[in-house]
């Protein structure tokens, strides 16, 4: 429907007065702002000394979770691999050595350089086996080094549990999933 007359707000540029046409008062006002900022607080975060405060749901490098018995929670259902938009998860399933599960991942490789850190694998997993931690400082000296396999991902788990930097979902309490005993 056409715009109503009363909804239109006409904005007219204010006419330039004598004070504005001299330019100098406006320049002084600008200089006042500039000098005020010069003596104000600074926003810089001195990186290696001051770490950033990451938000709660920060998506960093992945980890494979262990259950209470120390076994890997993943049942190699391929849901994360299917959900991944960058197709960076590569799983090879095998019959599991434990009685209460059918399968377990024999190899589980994530190419951290292909990964876009979207968290879809974490959302897709029915067993809360894969999670994105708050570690963001990934460096490597070769591309092969950055393809994290199962042992590496489990070691990330051990590190974050030891450091107490579990992602928020773990800290929220009891996780749901197919790897928990039926309640």
């Amino acid at each position: 429907m056409p715009i109503q007359e009363q909804d239109v707000k006409w904005v007219v540029e204010p006419k330039m007065g004598l004070v504005e046409s001299l330019y100098l008062p406006a320049i002084f006002q600008g200089l006042k702002t500039t000098v005020k900022h010069m003596f104000g607080p600074k926003m810089t975060q001195q990186y290696p000394e001051e770490r950033p405060r990451l938000p709660a749901n920060y998506r960093g490098v992945h980890r494979l979770n262990r259950d209470e018995q120390g076994r890997v929670k993943c049942v190699a259902c391929y849901m994360c691999s299917t959900a991944c938009p960058a197709r960076c998860i590569d799983i090879v399933a095998a019959p599991s050595p434990w009685a209460d599960r059918e399968k377990y991942p024999e190899t589980f490789v994530i190419d951290e350089l292909r990964c876009i850190y979207c968290g879809m694998c974490e959302q897709a997993c029915p067993c809360d086996a894969i999670e994105l931690t708050s570690l963001f400082e990934l460096t490597g000296l070769s591309r092969e080094e950055m393809m994290f396999d199962k042992e590496k991902l489990l070691s990330v788990f051990d590190q974050t549990v030891a450091a107490g930097t579990d992602p928020i979902r773990t800290r929220a309490g009891k996780l749901s999933g197919c790897s928990e005993p039926n309640v």
């Binding site: 001299l22 320049i27 010069m38």
Partner: protein
């Protein structure tokens, strides 16, 4: 030429060369720091305590970088342009006093490379005009549309603003009856605080300062080297030492015009009670340097305060506003001197001129007749 001493001059040249280059290097650091502080951040602070060795790192970088000369440039001109830039800037500094000076004609060491030059002011303007060459040659030789346009714009800007720059100081020259910079300082120092020319020529100072901004290609007049508009303008194709020479030339030019502003309008090394005519020489030197630094600080602050002028606004400002203002200013000074009125009359007259210009600018432009 009665007291020309070759050794004093050579030693002064050597010392000044070193001090100027060192100051330019320090100014690059100061500029980055001030830019950062105004933008709510800390500038370079990693390279030394508080980042003080950043200039050393920058200098080393410029020295060891690979000198790339693009294939189809005009090689002699390409290499000549930055050399002219720094040559002209350094040449202009030859007659600028940078420390305590005596009454011209008296014996004794003056803190000037070439002391006793009676046309000092004209020499400085002539030498700084040579920088136009470096920009035109640099823009043309780079064989690049952006550089070319930048060079053209810059040369037009520089040439246009030389006129108000020269004419705005004519008021001071008439009041002092000499072009000799040492005499100008001496007259202000002898007369005390209220003989500083800023009280008699505030409008002249304002116009000179605006022209100095334009001559140094500093914001708000830095369209020729604006990165948003011209990818770097006339220094797009330069790198390493040649770019360093352009920057050194620009900073030396800034230092020279800051010194000039202090000498012409703010009494040079004079400060009431601390550095009177018979004060201690080191104190005078430090006060001179301090006043000059305040102006450089102002140059740098203004860079982050005012938006850039568009090219037609820039040219209109020079030709339609500043040149008539300088003419009017000159006429007022001539009237005051001819009828032997008090020079203090110039203060309200200058302010009235400024307000008058603002008022005239408000008169709406006449409508063009319909074609």
């Amino acid at each position: 030429m009665s007291d020309f001493n070759l050794w004093y001059t050579l030693i002064t040249i050597a010392v000044i060369f070193g001090v100027l280059q060192g100051t330019c290097a320090m100014l690059i650091y100061v500029e980055r720091k001030i830019a950062a502080y105004v933008q709510d951040r800390i500038g370079p602070n990693r390279v030394g305590p508080y980042g003080l060795l950043q200039s050393v790192a920058d200098g080393l970088k410029f020295l060891i970088k690979e000198e790339i000369v693009p294939a189809r440039v005009d090689k002699p001109l390409f290499i000549l342009a930055p050399c002219i830039a720094i040559f002209a800037a350094m040449l202009a500094f030859a007659v600028v006093p940078f420390g305590p000076t005596n009454k011209p004609g008296e014996a004794g060491y003056q803190f000037v490379i070439a002391s006793g030059v009676d046309i000092g002011l004209v020499f400085i303007f002539a030498a700084t005009s040579l920088t136009v060459y470096s920009i035109i040659l640099g823009g043309w030789a780079a064989n690049n549309k952006y550089s070319f346009i930048g060079g053209l714009r810059s040369s037009a800007q520089l040439v246009s603003y030389e006129i108000p720059m020269g004419m705005s100081v004519l008021g001071v020259v008439l009041l002092t009856r000499s072009l000799n910079l040492e005499k100008i300082i001496w007259q202000q120092a002898e007369g005390g605080l209220f003989a500083w020319n800023i009280f008699f020529q505030p409008l002249g100072f304002l116009i000179f300062m605006i022209s100095a901004f334009a001559e140094c290609n500093r914001l708000p007049f830095d369209l020729p080297e604006a990165e948003q508009e011209l990818v770097g303008g006339y220094h797009t194709e330069y790198n390493a030492m040649k770019l360093a020479l352009f920057f050194l030339g620009e900073y030396t030019h800034m230092i020279t015009t800051s010194f000039l502003m202090v000498i012409l309008y703010f009494g040079g090394w004079h400060l009431p009670f601390l550095a009177e005519v018979d004060g201690f020489w080191l104190l005078k030197l430090l006060i001179f340097a301090g006043k000059m630094s305040l102006f450089i600080l102002f140059f740098m602050l203004v860079r982050w305060t005012i938006p850039r002028f568009r090219f037609d606004q820039l040219m209109a400002l020079a030709w339609k506003v500043l040149i008539p203002l300088t003419l009017a200013n000159l006429v007022c000074v001539m009237v005051v001197l001819e009828y032997r009125l008090s020079p203090w009359l110039l203060l309200p007259i200058s302010l009235a001129l400024l307000v008058g210009v603002g008022w005239i600018a408000l008169v709406p432009a006449p409508r063009k007749a319909a074609a």
